[in-house]
């Protein structure tokens, strides 16, 4: 990967990093942090769902695992929060691999895969809601102890920058996937599994790597959520809402693209806020907007917002060569995979 490849990522992240210098109101920062956490989790979903074409309806399984791992390690065994976050990532990867191993080995795909992931998330939710280790229905409260070593900061902006840094790292990771052998094989499996196998692609291994990576990234988002809001229970961490959010963002933004999940999370929550401003206290108004946008996106904008923009640009700027061509033509041979 060359520096040139990373310019869009750097520009976007650089601009976003300036935000806390302009806005300092806590509710706004809370909103931004939450949105970035959703974006991060959605980036995880996108690795499996977007590049791999395996639509999970139960990514809460990973989000919750990350959140609980972070919280439990600190509360029950006194592990350092940063180490807990690292462990959360590992746990998410392991749970992803295990769910993937069970379902992909049985040949589940499409709707069946969506259903089985949903069921796994529900099993985790019920267990977390009952088990003493997870605090049962009362949930877990991480004690307030503001020290950077505890992954708690006096200034909300610091946490914002931290999450932004992770989002940026995953943007780079995704960009790497897009241009690696692993990514090419993953997309090939999505497009046509039999043809991929005939070309020597070990489809089971490729899908397992994807779901483990996907689970790890989403678990990171969960861990950060627990650490920022300092409280989780089963219906938050393993709730259906988070599975839906993590899938909505990439689909709205542009499924299987590097920036799609971030654009989608931004758009959805932006729209949700606008709807709340206009409609006042009507409960669920933001979700009505989410659902409508989802139906509209599927009906009229395959490829999401980024897909729409690309189509508009191709139509508008006829004299320039279509982006896809210019991109491949300019590709610099990359040294490090």
């Amino acid at each position: 990967m060359t520096v040139r490849d990373l310019i869009p990522v750097l520009v976007l992240v650089g601009l976003a990093a300036l935000l806390p210098l302009v806005v300092t109101a806590s509710p706004v920062l809370n909103f931004l942090v939450f949105m970035l956490i959703v974006a991060l989790g959605a980036q995880g979903w996108n690795i499996l769902g977007g590049f791999g074409g395996q639509f999970s309806f139960g990514h809460a399984a990973f989000f919750g695992t990350g959140a609980y791992a972070t919280a439990i390690l600190q509360l029950r065994w006194g592990v350092n929060a940063w180490a807990g976050l690292a462990a959360a990532v590992a746990a998410g990867g392991a749970v992803g691999w295990a769910i993937g191993f069970l379902s992909f080995r049985s040949g589940l795909r499409g709707s069946y895969f969506a259903l089985v992931t949903l069921a796994f998330a529900e099993v985790f939710r019920i267990l977390a809601n009952a088990a003493p280790l997870t605090g049962g229905a009362a949930g877990l409260l991480i004690g307030l102890d503001v020290r950077p070593a505890n992954l708690q900061f006096a200034d909300r902006a610091v946490f914002y920058w931290l999450v932004l840094g992770f989002v940026a790292a995953v943007l780079v990771l995704t960009r790497w996937i897009q241009r690696s052998r692993f990514g090419a094989q993953l997309v090939a499996v999505r497009e046509n599994e039999d043809a991929a196998k005939a070309l020597g692609v070990d489809s089971l291994r490729v899908k397992l790597r994807a779901i483990a990576l996907s689970g790890a990234v989403t678990a990171l988002a969960g861990g950060l959520y627990a650490q920022y809001f300092l409280y989780i229970d089963a219906n938050i961490a393993y709730g259906g809402w988070i599975s839906v959010e993590l899938l909505l963002a990439p689909i709205i933004g542009g499924v299987g693209t590097v920036f799609g999940p971030v654009v989608g999370a931004l758009t959805l929550h932006g729209l949700g806020e606008v709807a709340k401003q206009f409609a006042g206290r009507i409960p669920g108004i933001d979700l009505i907007v989410f659902g409508t946008v989802l139906v509209l996106a599927v009906a009229f904008a395959r490829g999401g917002i980024l897909g729409l923009l690309e189509r508009l640009r191709d139509r508008g700027v006829g004299m320039l060569p279509p982006s896809a061509k210019s991109r491949t033509a300019k590709e610099v041979p990359n040294a490090g995979r």
Binding site: R181, A184, Q185, R190, E191, N192, K197, A198, L199, G200
Partner: protein, 248 residues
């Protein structure tokens, strides 16, 4: 290099392939012909690992591969094309071929370079950056060939790569196939276009109703009474011979 030892495949009550045997020697172009529904594609699927045989064994370069998965066989050097073309529709032609090239080239630059070279080879050079979904039938057939070739196979299984092409397209692609053999790739091909079989193949096997009924040089096989009957029905060989005598 490839030995198929009396393999059978049963689908419920249907014996799709019934004790078929076949040997492929390195450097040859071997044809596999037979009427529709004879079990040719099923046999191919067993050789490439997509269907497990009910009975019998398959060996490649001395190793028993009967139970091996398709991707492992591809890694050993068995490439295949599909009769019903299976492009990765959302990817460009170049990206399609690169998936095959990645099998032996881990680095993107190498894989892309290899993909471009193969595309030139089969005449897809001008289409490199087009989406594979937008190719014509002939283009898709070439893409199938290119992808399989990009895996750098030792043995290439071609399943009706000429079907659906017009005569001039067939004329264009025949030298490509011969060229692939001349570079050292052994070819086993299913083909209905007899003219192509006659020009390309040194040796032909005939499968009918799941059984191998004849083998030999193409000209000899085409004159074989059992083969004629398999294609045209019982008694056809005698009738043809009688008509030939009457006209002669």
């Amino acid at each position: 290099m490839l030995v198929v030892d009396s393999v059978s495949k049963r689908f419920g009550g249907l014996m799709a392939v019934d004790g078929a045997s076949l040997t492929v020697t390195p450097g040859s172009i071997i044809g596999l012909i037979g009427p529709n529904g004879a079990g040719k594609t099923t046999l191919f699927s067993m050789i490439s690992g997509f269907i497990a045989p009910t009975d019998g064994g398959i060996r490649f370069e001395g190793a028993d591969i009967t139970a091996e998965e398709p991707h492992r066989r591809a890694a050993r050097g068995i490439g295949r094309t599909f009769q019903i073309v299976q492009p990765f529709a959302g990817l460009t032609v170049c990206e399609n071929i690169a998936v095959g090239a990645y099998l032996r080239h881990a680095k993107r630059a190498d894989a892309i370079a290899r993909a471009r070279a193969v595309a030139q080879r089969v005449g897809l050079g001008p289409e490199l950056d087009r989406p594979a979904g937008g190719l014509t039938v002939a283009g898709r057939k070439r893409l199938e060939l290119a992808r399989a070739l990009a895996t750098e196979p030792k043995l290439l299984l071609l399943d009706e790569v000429l079907a659906g092409l017009n005569p001039s397209e067939i004329r264009d692609i025949i030298p490509v196939i011969r060229g692939i053999r001349d570079e050292g790739v052994t070819i086993l091909m299913i083909e209905h276009v007899m003219q192509a079989v006659m020009t390309l193949c040194e040796h032909v096997h005939v499968l009918a109703q799941g059984r191998m009924i004849a083998e030999g040089p193409p000209a000899a096989v085409c004159a074989d009474a059992r083969v004629i009957e398999a294609y045209l029905g019982h008694g056809a060989a005698a009738r043809l011979a009688a008509e030939g005598a009457a006209h002669g």
